[in-house]
Symmetry: C2
Subunit: 121 residues, 2 copies
DNA sequence: CCCTTATTCAACCCAACGGTTGACAAAGTC
DNA sequence: GACTTTGTCAACCGTTGGGTTGAATAAGGG
């Protein structure tokens, strides 16, 4: 799992980390402040942040002893691009399929008719 | 990790599964056909499909011995919504921050000035 | 200098993941 | 009815993930 996209998806697969991201959209935060709401050790939170950082979702600076955590919005685009690309394709095909099915109605029984039972129709 | 959003993100964190999704946007496919390009056992692919199915990304029907796999485009919206929501917020805050920083220039030194080093200047 | 605050590192534990192989089930074909 | 195709189930195995605790580091503050 070396590629960034995998790391980003994996990072967001955890509800705690998603919540952290959500809270970081409001304001930068220290590790301690971030940890407060959760019922886990500070070290666990630190680990979560490492995961988010390695995914490029977050960056950390230094401010005295504190390590303020900052959300990097750019990475979201990476996901959005991937998702949007295939979502569009899937929806396109959805329409095309309907057309095909409609066309098939005019003939006998098709040889490659897949998708007998599904969500649609 | 019971919630769907977690399952969806986790499912897409695997490159093989993302590739399967990508290929399924082109056409429904049988397990065998889906497995062909990958250098793993059929059982492994079957497991991957189970993960995708439990995430709601895919549905399976029956066609003789075959179990055609079909991509469910709707779930993508779930992710898109989550992502877009926080991306927008993050970007908004990005602008607001600039305003705040500009405002601070007119005063002395701030007490809560976080984000000393970051991506943005 | 010592002490407190803020955070990370290291070692460990257990559950989950991705892979394997072997057996089984379901449906069509001969 | 036996055989083939298509796929899943079950048991197992090594690795990773999220959690813990305890010690270490970094930077102020008294």
């Amino acid at each position: 799992m070396t590629d960034q996209l995998s790391r980003v998806f994996a990072a967001l697969a955890d509800p705690t980390r998603r919540d952290m991201v959500a809270r970081l959209t409001v304001a930068d935060s220290t590790v301690n402040d971030l940890a407060a709401p959760y019922d886990v050790s500070l070290q666990a939170v630190s680990k979560h942040l490492k995961v988010l950082e390695e995914a490029g979702l977050v960056s950390r600076s230094r401010e005295a002893q504190r390590r303020p955590v900052h959300l990097e919005a750019e990475v979201f685009d990476l996901m959005t691009k991937w998702i949007e690309r295939y979502r569009r394709q899937a929806e396109e095909r959805f329409s095309r399929l309907d057309a095909v099915l409609a066309a098939m109605d005019e003939e006998g029984n098709p040889t490659t008719g897949i998708r007998t039972e599904g969500t649609a129709s």
